[in-house]
């Protein structure tokens, strides 16, 4: 837990309600962060199941197109760049949070949000283009698995965007307090997690798809 303790110890908490007792009746921010790690573990299993399904079904193209026919290298490379960069800027937001710089936190969060929205925009475009060609969810098992795996990740990112906006507003309103610092840190964890999942989607779905 060294990362999380470090995250929250480098800035003075704005208020201390009662003494810190370790077992405690006081809501310890590390408790939330630990809990969120466990949630990420279970979310990881969710993605693992979707990856397993994709691995089983990706050759079952029935009468539909194969991966090679529909994947657009420029599109998914751009998506990857946007998301990887957004993970970096999100890290910068956490870094500024540790130094107590409200303005920079907000700024980096906004940059992260813009990159996230660009990512989503490209993904929606990819889905729309394919659907327009008549390659939908019901075309083949491969496409069902593809849309569901990539779409679930996209839904996670979209949810993350809404969540990050809510936290951005709180940081602007309240500054960096014990509570908002914890929230910035947790949403950051979520964002990096989605980035890691995307690295696997990039490799397992897109790279193997265009090579195969």
């Amino acid at each position: 837990m060294s990362v999380t303790q470090e995250a929250l110890s480098n800035h003075p908490p704005s208020h201390v309600g009662g003494e810190h007792v370790e077992h405690a009746d006081h809501p310890d921010p590390n408790l939330w962060i630990f809990g969120f790690w466990i949630f990420l573990a279970s979310d990881l299993i969710l993605f693992a199941s979707l990856f397993a399904t994709y691995a089983v079904l990706h050759t079952h193209i029935a009468n539909g197109p194969s991966a090679r026919q529909i994947f657009d290298v420029t599109g998914f490379t751009a998506e990857t760049l946007f998301l990887l960069t957004s993970s970096f800027t999100c890290g910068l937001a956490t870094w500024s949070m540790r130094r107590g710089q409200r303005g920079w936190v907000a700024g980096w969060l906004v940059v992260t949000l813009i990159l996230g929205l660009l990512f989503i925009g490209f993904e929606v475009d990819e889905f729309a283009t394919n659907s327009m060609k008549g390659y939908g969810m019901s075309t083949s098992a491969f496409l069902s698995a593809f849309y569901t795996l990539v779409g679930t990740h996209g839904c996670h990112v979209s949810l993350g965007i809404c969540w990050m906006i809510a936290i951005l507003i709180q940081v602007l309103r309240l500054g960096i307090t014990e509570v908002t610092a914890r929230k910035v840190f947790v949403v950051g964890l979520y964002w990096h997690f989605l980035d890691v999942v995307w690295v696997f989607i990039f490799t397992v779905v897109y790279l193997t798809g265009v090579m195969g």
Binding site: G17, G18, V21, E22, H23, A24, D25, H26, P27, D28, L31, W32, F34, G35, I38, F39, A41, S42, D43, I45, L46, S49, L50, A52, T53, V56, L57, H60, I61, A62, M137, S138, T139, S140, A141, F142, S144, A145, Y147, T148, C162, W163, A166, I167, I169, Q170, V179, K183
Partner: protein
């Protein structure tokens, strides 16, 4: 593609007298509840004390009430099935209706009876046992309960609106796909399980964090009561397997609603993928429900033998071994898939291996009783009844794990008898033991013994009468899920005996219920807080426990902490810890978990009937609840010292 033009005249299920009866009774009971609440002006009380509570003890009590109600409903389903099978060529239930009843029986008993019952016990006992004032995330805990509750409501609604699911509790495709199963029943199944499943994952995370991070000072992991170890193992299982069920159900739903091809026969779908994923969840799931029962037996046996548990470390090791191995046994549910001798051998062996730690636990309970001063109280009776029951259930499980032999037993009544023996003899016996054991801690009075004894004996004997014949029927070729059978198969007598046994169990349940009602009026009050001469910390606080649990957080110096404190107190040693009472930090009640889960219910109901406007409304309300929570900074408060002192004084403590 699914039929979007669903006929509204089929909205209410018609044509069956049993369902008309259910309609009438639902309306009558609903009116009665509304009338009583209004007459006694209890609406405010219901909202303030129960619907908005974040107190783990109250949430536990609500889980328990729900579990008992679902046990009743699942039990009625079981009796209807046994009535249909009592004699050959019976025309009591139609085939279609029979399919619905075995589906709802299985689903309700596992997901809406066993699961809430274990959640009830862990909510009631775990924070008290580890010396904490609540779980790690009390607000999330309330969400978990209401998600379960509205999931269960959605599932039960199918009986009167739209029709029940009928593809078995496992809901295998392709049968459960819309090609073969158009009606809304399967949608109900998928969405109800999905909604309550979200609650289950949240509970798993909550208790994992609670147990690892909220223990009283001095309570090292190896000083924890075994029940807490069992819940830790269960939480780990929940966290890592429920997402797999979530995915399996979601993909099937996408198949049904969006016409995808995950598990269909056409378009490249692969139905076995669902079956694999279902059992990757499904096998650990049986350990999710049995490990807490093991934990309860460990507490009950130690308490009523007046001894510390025999082989504590080996008990912990076997709990953890079971938790790990249970991930590697799932294929034994479908050896007949034809995965080949290599795969089947692996899963046969892992299944046999998992019996070893279970056996270790049985011997440890026996050794705990050996040379102990055993008090045969009601909870102890259920623990004693469990041991032979589970030994037989475990042994038949090992028989089933022999892959070549399983080709003979597969989906026969032998299997049915086996898993009922472990799930009833293990889980239900365990949960009832826990209910009798912790009842005084929940409500402040002990459940009366006479009714409880009648309940135990009818249920226990009825169990053998009901299920031993089913082992034989399995050998004689009777398969599960058949709604009737011809004469001359040689099955008639055994089926009749089995039905008689089922009714004996039903009578047992009635005695248990009557005992609860009787005890509410005449039960012996528990003024000490420690009616059983207990060993663990929950017995150190008054009964029922005050909402902050501990006025002072105890300091733990050994295993069986309360037992040690009592001994030391007799020798005049004062327990270590704080002298002063300090203000206690507590979470505020909130109505949002209720409204959030209700919104999920609305969204789910919309999806069942493809009324997407309702779904959009439901999910918008969910989003609103989540955002409101994010912006809510007024979530907790301090109980002042005076109030704590007053409360403690009302229990005769200082």
């Amino acid at each position: 593609m699914p039929d979007d033009t669903l006929n509204v005249s089929h909205f209410l299920v018609t044509g069956d007298p049993l369902i008309y009866g259910a309609d009438v009774s639902i309306v009558v009971v609903s009116i009665a509840i509304v009338a009583v609440l209004t007459y006694y002006r209890k609406w405010g009380w219901l909202w303030r004390e129960w619907l908005t509570t974040v107190d783990h003890k109250k949430i536990g009590i609500m889980y328990m009430i729900a579990a008992l109600l679902m046990l009743f409903r699942g039990g009625v389903d079981a009796l209807l099935m046994r009535m249909q099978l009592a004699f050959p060529n019976t025309r009591f239930l139609e085939a279609e209706h029979y399919n619905q009843i075995f589906t709802t029986h299985g689903t309700i008993m596992i997901l809406f009876m066993a699961m809430p019952f274990i959640f009830a016990m862990m909510n009631i006992a775990v924070p008290l046992m580890i010396g904490a004032r609540d779980v790690a995330f009390p607000y999330l805990n309330a969400i978990s309960f209401w998600m379960f509750f509205f999931g269960a409501m959605l599932f039960n609604l199918s009986f009167v609106i739209g029709g029940s699911p009928d593809a078995g509790w496992t809901s295998y495709p392709p049968l459960a796909e819309s090609d073969f199963n158009l009606g809304p029943g399967e949608n109900y199944y998928l969405l109800a399980l999905q909604i309550s499943g979200i609650g289950s994952i949240a509970t798993g995370i909550n208790f994992f964090v609670t147990i690892l991070k909220m223990r009283a000072p001095g309570m090292t992991l190896m000083r924890m009561p075994l029940f807490c170890w069992a819940i830790l193992a269960t939480s780990i299982l929940i966290i890592f397997v429920f997402p797999v069920l979530t995915v399996a159900l979601a993909l099937l739903l996408i198949d049904r609603i969006a016409g995808a091809h995950f598990f269909t026969m056409l378009g490249g779908g692969n139905p076995m993928m669902y079956i694999n994923m279902f059992w990757i969840w499904g096998h650990p799931e049986v350990y999710i429900v049995i490990l807490p029962a093991f934990g309860i037996f460990s507490e009950v046996v130690a308490t009523f033998s007046g001894k510390r548990i025999f082989g504590y470390a080996s008990m912990v090791a076997s709990l953890m071994a079971i938790a790990v191995i249970s991930y590697f046994t799932w294929v034994h549910h479908f050896f007949t898939m034809g995965a080949g001798p290599g795969v089947n051998s692996f899963f046969a062996l892992s299944t046999m291996i998992i019996a070893i730690p279970t056996g270790v636990k049985i011997f440890n309970w026996l050794a705990t009783m050996y040379n102990g001063r055993v008090r045969v109280t009601v909870p102890m009776k259920w623990a004693l009844g469990f041991i032979p029951n589970f030994a037989v259930g475990g042994a038949t499980g090992v028989m089933l794990s022999v892959a070549p032999a399983d080709y003979q037993y597969h989906n026969s009544y032998f299997l049915i008898a086996h898993f009922h023996q472990t799930l009833i003899g293990g889980v239900v016996f365990g949960m009832l033991a826990g209910m009798y054991y912790w009842w005084p801690k929940m409500f402040g009075f002990v459940l009366e013994e006479r009714y409880a004894n009648w309940g135990f004996w009818w249920f226990n004997i009825g169990f053998y009468v009901c299920f031993i014949p089913q082992y034989l029927l399995g050998f004689m070729g009777m398969t599960r899920r058949i709604y009737t059978y011809p004469t001359g198969m040689g099955w008639s007598t055994l089926n009749l005996i089995s039905t008689i046994g089922a009714f004996m169990m039903g009578l047992g349940f009635l005695f248990i219920a009557a005992g609860i009602v009787y005890s509410i009026f005449y039960g012996e009050r528990d003024t000490t807080g420690d009616p059983w001469n207990g060993r663990t910390l929950e017995w150190s606080v008054p009964s029922p426990a005050p909402h902050y649990n501990f006025a002072r957080i105890p300091v733990v110096t050994s295993r069986d902490a309360w037992w040690t404190m009592k001994k030391e107190r007799k020798q005049g040693v004062l327990p270590p810890g704080e002298d002063e009472i300090r203000p206690i930090h507590m979470p505020k009640n909130s109505g949002r978990p209720f409204i959030l889960s209700l919104s999920f219910f609305v969204a789910g109901f919309g999806l069942v009937f493809h009324w997407y406007i309702l779904t959009v409304i439901g999910f918008s309300a969910v989003a609103a609840c989540l955002l409101l929570r994010s912006f809510d900074y007024d979530t907790d408060y301090y109980i002042p010292v005076d109030e704590i002192k007053k409360t403690e004084a009302s229990y005769g403590r200082s």
